[in-house]
């Protein structure tokens, strides 16, 4: 698998939902199609990051073990969705 990481978000040591929050911020600022790397030691990220990527329309390219605690999540940024907001009129 060949790709270039445009930005690395280092959330090592941050507890849930810190890594997710930092990833969401980075993805919102990123170009569609670019690849973001999230470094996280949070156990919750293992299930949370794939689920969020699926729901938000981004592609989790792969998850790489950096060491026995830290994982590297590589995410390809998809098309930005418009926010769901009810029409109050």
């Amino acid at each position: 698998m060949s790709y270039q990481i445009a930005k690395t978000v280092d959330a090592v040591g941050s507890f849930c939902p810190g890594p997710l929050m930092e990833l969401v911020r980075a993805v919102k600022e990123a170009e569609t199609g670019s690849v973001i790397e999230l470094l996280s030691s949070d156990k919750g990220s293992v299930g949370e990051i794939p689920k969020w990527c699926e729901k938000a329309g981004h592609e989790l390219l792969e998850v790489v073990d950096v060491d026995d605690k830290v994982k590297s999540y590589r995410i390809k940024v998809g098309e930005k969705k418009k926010r769901r907001r009810r029409n109050k009129e």
């Binding site: 941050s14 939902p17 929050m21 919102k28 938000a56 969705k81 926010r83 769901r84 009810r86």
Partner: protein
Amino acid sequence: MLILLKDGSYQSFATMAMIATGAVTSDIEVKVFAMEDAVYALRKDQIDKHIKFEKPYPEYNAALQDAIDTGKTQKWWELFNDLKDLGDIELTVCALVADLLGLELEDFADVVDDIQGVAKFAGDAEEADIFITI
């Protein structure tokens, strides 16, 4: 999503903020309505004090305090304010309790957006797909 928060403990606010994080990061609009003790806890001169945890487990309290002190986790209101930058989320306090305590909007912590009556809550509840009480 509408969350009704009645309890003024730190843990209840933290639970609310965690649920709201899941929603806002999934582009779901969140409205939080605070009533009873939760309104009191949101006073500007009170919010820092209620971080004294009420859990009957000293080890848990110490671990949470350490995580906050070392920056591994945020205080709930810091997380809530960050969510405002990411999506649609607002915190409204009950007008009755605000009146009972003689409080105006400026008396509440910055995280509070508005003071509204129960008609506002009822309207939000009618529109919400998901309703959670804490």
